[in-house]
Subunit: 603 residues, 2 copies
Amino acid sequence: MPDYQAPLRDLRFVMDELLGYPAHYARLPGGEEATPDVVAAILEEGARFAREELLPLNQSGDREGCLLEGGEVKTPKGFKQAYQRYVAGGWPGLAADPEQGGQGLPPSLAMVLSEMICATNLAWGMYPGLSHGAADALRHHGSAVQKQTYLNKLVEGVWTGTMCLTESHCGTDLGLIKTRAVPDADDGYTISGTKIFISAGEHDLAENIVHLVLARLPDAPAGSRGISLFVVPKYLPDDDGHPGERNAVSCGSLEHKMGIHGNATCVMNFDGARGFLVGQPHKGLACMFTMMNAARIGVGIQGLGLAEASFQNALGYARDRLQMRGLSGTQAEDKPADPIIVHPDVRRMLLTQKAIAEGGRMLVLYTAQLVDVVERSQEAEQREHAEALLGLLTPIVKAFLTEVGFEATNEGVQIFGGHGFIQEWGMEQLVRDARITRLYEGTTGIQALDLLGRKVLMSQGESLKVFTKEIHKFCQAEDANPDMAEFVRPLAKLNAEWGELTTAVGMKAMSDREEVGAASVDYLMYAGYVTLAYLFARAVKQARLALDDSLEEATFYRAKINTARFFYERLLPRTRAHAQMIQAGGESLMAMSAEDFGRGFEI
Amino acid sequence: MPDYQAPLRDLRFVMDELLGYPAHYARLPGGEEATPDVVAAILEEGARFAREELLPLNQSGDREGCLLEGGEVKTPKGFKQAYQRYVAGGWPGLAADPEQGGQGLPPSLAMVLSEMICATNLAWGMYPGLSHGAADALRHHGSAVQKQTYLNKLVEGVWTGTMCLTESHCGTDLGLIKTRAVPDADDGYTISGTKIFISAGEHDLAENIVHLVLARLPDAPAGSRGISLFVVPKYLPDDDGHPGERNAVSCGSLEHKMGIHGNATCVMNFDGARGFLVGQPHKGLACMFTMMNAARIGVGIQGLGLAEASFQNALGYARDRLQMRGLSGTQAEDKPADPIIVHPDVRRMLLTQKAIAEGGRMLVLYTAQLVDVVERSQEAEQREHAEALLGLLTPIVKAFLTEVGFEATNEGVQIFGGHGFIQEWGMEQLVRDARITRLYEGTTGIQALDLLGRKVLMSQGESLKVFTKEIHKFCQAEDANPDMAEFVRPLAKLNAEWGELTTAVGMKAMSDREEVGAASVDYLMYAGYVTLAYLFARAVKQARLALDDSLEEATFYRAKINTARFFYERLLPRTRAHAQMIQAGGESLMAMSAEDFGRGFEI
């Protein structure tokens, strides 16, 4: 069975040494509680929970899957008990507002824990994970009564939430949704329609489920400007706020999926269900984006968690598995063959995983600080700056970390050889589970359009400049440091090129909008590699300072520098390909008619 | 349910127009039967068989899997009947020697059919597929009696074959195998040991199974020079050659795998089974490579087939699925949204699939001609030349086509969005099935070492020069053709760079053998892209000639040119990354100790 240890040492490096979390928390309203000791205790307890409660249920949950019987969904054995312990431990409300019964700790802390949960049991983690999105929507857009009725229960964790957006004919294009909401006599609405792909739509973990549902009012304008958001509970709360009458919402069937088998992916039927408007009529899409942005970062963290899980197990296997002798001679004289970690190509794969996990962790924690500031800071200027950066980085976190996270899980299978394909080793499950992360909450293609089209070009490149200026400053500050030259020189070059490529695509896009879509995914991947390059360069600087200070844990810091060097030498060159592809333009993409694509096989 | 039409038009282009198969067959001993009419009829009938008999069993076979009960393996519903029809149709012996009851048609023709089988039902295709390897070993190394007893039955298809190599502690490193063969009183051997990952090791399709087993004789030297090959039938043939006494070989269990569920992957126990030596004692590894080289090309074809299957279905979906309006405006006024094939990024993914499938097909058919020559030609010089090229291209076909084939199946899932993750659409099965192709018959890492270490560097680059010279000649011949410049110029540059990179790695490797492993996978991928670039350039030339000739099927030829342009603009730039990574050297790979890899999470 796969093992997992939360990367507490690396987390300490990134949080305390690299990104100054202790000072960040001390400055943050509500953050004063998050002292280094408290943070360390929470992370250790979270690590224990993930390893001891969730990890043992990951493979069995995959094998068992969920079962729909008589309208009720049975989750895999142990899932409910683990969820109860999660609630009893107070985890759901960790970063929630004390007004709603939360502990008021910084959001970033919940994100760190999320990495551990995703690494040990993604399918399970989606049940509480979906609640966060629903809670966010209610917190930002719900009425006082709605907060009291639903949000407190979500924060407590006794109820869970869902996001009911997709219908069979529309996922990306929510303007096409058909679910209807008709005002009833009673200040409420009658909701009718069918939603698909509803994660955690029905299950046995909690006493009630709070669905947040996009639907159209009778007078709604066509398209995405005619969508409203409703809260539709599985059980209508009674006067005491307890689950009362069963609402007319039910799970019609469960999807059979490639992975995340332990999570119930439901077709949800709303057959005249009672619902309540959240926010303003026809403004549902804006509310939805409140859920979505948090969810997107959450999915990026899934990519990170799965990469780390795959890396740790592949490393263990590579140290144990004996196969062939080293190319330059025998290394383990006393054994019938050398452990495969002696082979350079196995090391290349392991380092790819390690660089993705460690780079991804830096990116997530860098982004998490921005979330803290946006959510908590009292200073408008600081908030605005953080918001601009967060907007830019959200699609990168979501799409880049899931693309490379999927790659990392595949390297894990590859390191195991044929055994990687066998279910009992658990490595192929990580690939299957990771596969969804490139799709849900907006595919990589959608994130890329968001990044290049909405975030970068629509702001005339201003939001990008906020970030590239920061990188530029770092490069300037390190310019005279010969130890940093191998990192800072290529980084400065890439940072400048990033701006040039943006201008080039922007110019082309002025005469042909298709050029944005033609460049977008390569642009996003390019952005991801440069962003990680920046963070790795900072990590090197930090590691060198630590090494100058003392020789304590020198192996940790030297490994960090080496991982950064590997990233620069063996992953960053991919920008050379992406830069060329960004510049290639859309002509070869757009030239063929839809019919001509099939000339080789259609008669 | 997924659909499939064999790409007969594209096959005709590659075989008849690009690679001159009609003339090639006419020159080939035994090939005179393969007239254009006969070939066309066989391909059409093969296409029908794949689509009508195999495709309908692909999803059900995946769902059902195989069942082991009382030592017998039950294959999924319909598999046996399809196999019987396959035998009745004479397919197993298509390219086999008439002496053994085969039809004596060229091997390349069987490879074309193999693409269709892999595209429609890989799990099923592995049952007859494994027989080919076993037959090859017996044909090259078996005694006259062994040929008569076993090979004829394999050619007829009433018996199937296996390759029993892997043991639990060794896959790549066959020198470690422990299975023992002790001479018995009767000119035979008693085989004892356990083999794992034996595809088609036990099943109900055929009346007997012929295992080819690697084992050690009592006096065997240690390591790979002490391995011998044995034929071990499930039922010992009686005096009439019919299955007689049950041999002491049995399936101990079936593996639970990520994909190819319809194929029985067996743990095989040899409990003092009766076997017979094939070839010379201790020379089993050489015999094994006879099976292996054919099998490796076969696995490359699997990558190709799955890419084509995924492409065809993604194309259908992209034409039908309505989602969002085109970036530059509405395209389907009469519909609520535009078909997603209008979006440049969807086209990028489709073209990636298409370029991989069409490029892969050219590579397979180019290689298949070499197989024909090696197997059939009477001219020693021709054979030697083909053998050198075939040796060079075999690891590229195997590893490059499975790496990009896996990518293509993933693009298929991505085009389907969330629906791609749902089993009923069939796209995720292609990913799961494709995942094994990067592993079995030697992982990508092993192929890369074979290419760079054994084939290229060990021959001092001579085998590479055979190929780069051919490319160079083509470039020179087209140098003055302005229509070809956009292809020939980058190709000539890459071709020269290929040689330079080889020299650079070779020089480094002289002082440090690890440098071979450090560069090998990037080198293989680089080689794959350049090889496809060469074939696409030739395809463009051919398409232009056809367009000059007449406007018949102009859309086909223009699409071919456009696909080539896409390949050059959007896939070939990956060579920029690989070239840098090849040159990066092994230092960052080899610097860390095995312990230091885990410093971030291990306490």
